[in-house]
């Protein structure tokens, strides 16, 4: 059970935060198809940051001394670096769709094409191959929170809560949840959030009340870029051993599906992300999931083909979207470049 929850969170959190990134852009009226590209770029920047700082030896002393608090700080810095560069990368989309009034889906697709090519180009220059890894060690030994930090020995029990939510976790997971909550409140309970949402529903009306639609759309897309960049790095850190390969396994697109399934609402998105995360986790580890701890691996012994389990996340996406898309309510003005002269 502990294993299932932990692995589900590892897959669900990047999806959730990137889906929220999509919400911020779309609520302000910009379709951000470039989530995948921004994730790839953010993952690259985060890994590059980790790699360079390791090479500079800044945290070697902290690693030697097992000063895990300093290493968590290092992880946070990498997340911030990824978020900043993700935001910068998304400015390309904002510029194209706000200033140039270009078609947003095409702009997003262009970024999706650009990011993996650009990232692989840089990785080949830097690492002489197609993968950029940490300069030394692995993600778990540098960044993972373990029970030994709190004085527990190898065989000591932490209890269900401790062993599930503290032992073998990444601080990134909790930072993402925190950011998710704060930004959801920002979107629904603040003046800024209301203005942002109004620009996605009826920008003309918003403009007539003195809101600068262009600024709001820039803000929405930039927040979106920062979140997607951070999400990309969190994905690379927690599930891919902090390696960047110019690929995030389609998580950006899965996040778009989660956003639509979640009906552009944060709470629904969190639920949807957990659902997809659960099935991604089941697909990879069905053979070793022991749901109620009685030593029987139900899923492995059910006699169902492994290929079925591997299809599950995508089957579920199809089924769920087919049933929920009728009710889905996208922001009304999304995808339409704002033109002051139009009614």
């Amino acid at each position: 059970m502990t294993f299932l929850i932990q692995q589900t969170l590892l897959y669900a959190i990047p999806l959730m935060i990137v889906a929220l990134a999509g919400v911020f852009a779309e609520r302000s009226g910009i379709i951000n198809l470039a989530l995948e590209g921004i994730m790839i770029f953010g993952a690259f920047i985060g890994v590059l940051f980790v790699n360079l700082v390791q090479q500079a030896g800044v945290f070697d002393a902290a690693k030697e001394a097992n000063n895990w608090v300093a290493l968590q700080g290092f992880e946070l810095m990498a997340m911030v670096a990824a978020a900043i560069m993700g935001a910068v990368f998304s400015l390309l989309l904002s510029f194209a769709s706000v200033n140039l009034k270009a078609d947003q889906t095409i702009g997003g697709t262009a970024l999706n094409l650009l990011a993996p090519a650009l990232v692989l180009f840089f990785i080949r220059i830097i690492a002489n191959q197609n993968t950029l890894q940490m300069a030394s060690g692995d993600a778990a030994s540098w960044f993972m929170i373990k029970k030994s930090f709190f004085g527990y020995g190898r065989n000591d029990e932490m209890g269900f809560f401790g062993s599930t939510f503290i032992d073998k976790t990444y601080i990134a997971t909790y930072i993402c949840i925190l950011v998710f909550v704060i930004l959801s409140i920002l979107l629904y309970k603040t003046r800024f959030g209301l203005r942002l949402r109004s620009c996605g529903e009826n920008p003309q009306a918003a403009d007539s009340l003195g809101i600068n639609v262009y600024k709001m759309r820039y803000a929405g897309t930039t927040i979106s870029g920062a979140l997607a960049g951070m999400g990309g790095f969190v994905y690379a850190l927690t599930t891919a051993n902090c390696a960047s390969t110019g690929d995030v396994a389609g998580f950006g697109f899965l996040a778009l599906a989660v956003m639509i399934f979640g009906n552009w609402k944060p709470l629904n998105i969190a639920g949807a992300a957990l659902l997809f995360g659960l099935f991604k986790c089941v697909a990879a580890s069905y053979s070793s999931i022991d749901i109620n701890g009685d030593g029987i691996f139900l899923l492995a012994e059910a006699g169902i083909s492994p290929h079925f389990y591997r299809m599950l996340p995508y089957l579920i996406t199809l089924v769920v979207l087919a049933f929920t898309s009728k009710k889905s309510r996208a922001p009304k003005a999304e995808g339409i470049p704002y033109d002051k002269g139009r009614r």
């Binding site: 889906t105 692989l120 197609n130």
Partner: protein, 407 residues
């Protein structure tokens, strides 16, 4: 509704476009030599051979620029990364060591399209090597067979060294057709290295083992490693009169690359009591060692001594890739290639080509000692202990002391 449809359509389009976008960049850069173009890490062969040979392959640059633009010793990589800290890197170390020691120019060629490389991509890499004046081309990995056959027939004057390979005939359908005498196949007795690792792990007290192999079960080398591993574990368990459990899987390793799925699966093994996993496949090591590190588990490395990569590596089932390459390329340059051309060489303990690393820093067993290992090694060398290499018997054999759980 219309808008949603448009969005979904755009999504599909984006997905398909990105799928291409992902593959194209390596295709464009795959055969070029990026560092040479970017002007970094350039070194002439004269500078790199200051009389005395360098023994640490990592101190020899991966890329060099020769003055006349020809590269004498060429290396065509297998799938996976050049610096996989395993198969490709171990083979390339041999190329670099020989070239540096003898003042030759060398260059590596990665077939385009990464892990989806086709025979055409591989052939193009070999052709690029031949066009750049290669005097010997080292090709790593059995996947290169078809491309190698074509290249060897197109360039009959160039000797090819086929690592993890076997002699090739002109017509793959007809085993009686002429043997290509410019291809030297070099294979290893991986089952012996696997046996050592399995035996040592169980003798050291591990009771729950795992094997995660690359190539999806179609790679003979990995199959031999795995079969030997099970035999070794079984023999040790029988000696200790106990039963050990083993998860045995080829999943998520078809392309020898690290993946989130592999990491999750192996994490699941560790979470359910597996103590040590034999990571048998190039870059897959990254995922498996990450899972081990997160769960305080242990890893057995493969091909080269991987103890330096992670503290979780307790030993490595090594094969002497670098030595074999130097030995084969040496035959080319001392004019005795005809002795090995057209034949298959299988290197094992008698050639000192397989084994476990016994350096103090690499030996991390607690109760199983280097002396115990050497006794076992000697037994295989004497022929008193024979490790079977017919891996097709893995699933049909009744293992007396191993609960084999094939996933």
């Amino acid at each position: 509704m219309k808008k949603l449809l448009a969005l979904v359509l755009a999504l599909v389009m984006g997905l398909s476009l990105v799928a291409c976008g992902n593959n194209n960049p390596p295709a464009e850069t795959g055969e070029s030599n990026p560092p040479a173009e970017t002007g970094t890490e350039t070194q002439t062969p004269e500078e790199s051979t200051p009389a005395e040979e360098t023994t640490d392959p990592d101190s020899i640059p991966d890329s060099m620029t020769s003055e006349d633009g020809t590269y004498q010793v060429a290396f065509v990589t297998d799938v996976g990364q050049l610096k996989d800290k395993s198969f490709n890197q171990g083979t390339f170390d041999g190329v670099k060591l020989y070239a540096a020691a003898n003042g030759l120019s060398y260059k590596y060629y990665q077939p385009a399209n990464g892990s989806e490389a086709t025979d055409e991509d591989r052939y193009n890499a070999m052709k690029a090597a031949a066009d750049a004046g290669a005097e010997v081309i080292v090709c790593a990995g059995y996947l290169q067979e078809a491309a190698l056959r074509r290249a060897a027939m197109d360039y009959p004057d160039i000797p090819f060294v086929f690592i993890d390979g076997y002699p090739l005939t002109e017509d793959p359908e007809n085993p009686d057709s002429a043997v290509l005498t410019n291809v030297a196949g070099i294979a290893f007795k991986e089952e012996q290295a696997g046996y050592f690792a399995g035996y040592a792990a169980v003798m050291d007290g591990f009771e729950n083992l795992g094997f995660s192999g690359g190539g999806g079960g179609t790679n003979d080398a990995c199959c031999r490693f795995g079969y030997g591993f099970v035999q070794g574990a079984n023999a040790a368990a029988a000696e200790l009169d106990k039963t050990v459990n083993m998860n045995y899987s080829w999943q998520y390793g078809a392309t020898f690359s690290a993946s989130a799925e592999l990491q999750t699966m192996i994490s699941g093994w560790y979470a359910n009591g597996t103590e040590i996993v034999f990571a048998c496949g190039g870059s897959m090591f990254q995922s498996i060692s990450a899972a081990a590190s997160a769960n305080d588990g242990y890893v057995i490395g493969v091909d080269v001594d991987q103890s330096g990569e992670s503290d979780t590596v307790i030993t490595s089932a090594m094969k002497g890739l670098a030595d074999a390459v130097q030995w084969a390329v040496g035959h080319v340059y001392d004019g005795t290639f005809t002795e090995i051309g057209g034949t298959g060489t299988s290197l094992g303990v008698e050639d000192n080509a397989v084994g476990l690393p016994t350096d103090e820093s690499s030996w991390r067993f607690e109760s199983f000692s280097v002396d115990d290992y050497q006794a076992m090694y000697q037994a295989v060398l004497d022929g008193t202990l024979v490790v079977d290499n017919d891996f097709s018997k893995l699933e049909t054999t009744e293992w007396s002391n191993v609960n084999l759980n094939i996933i």
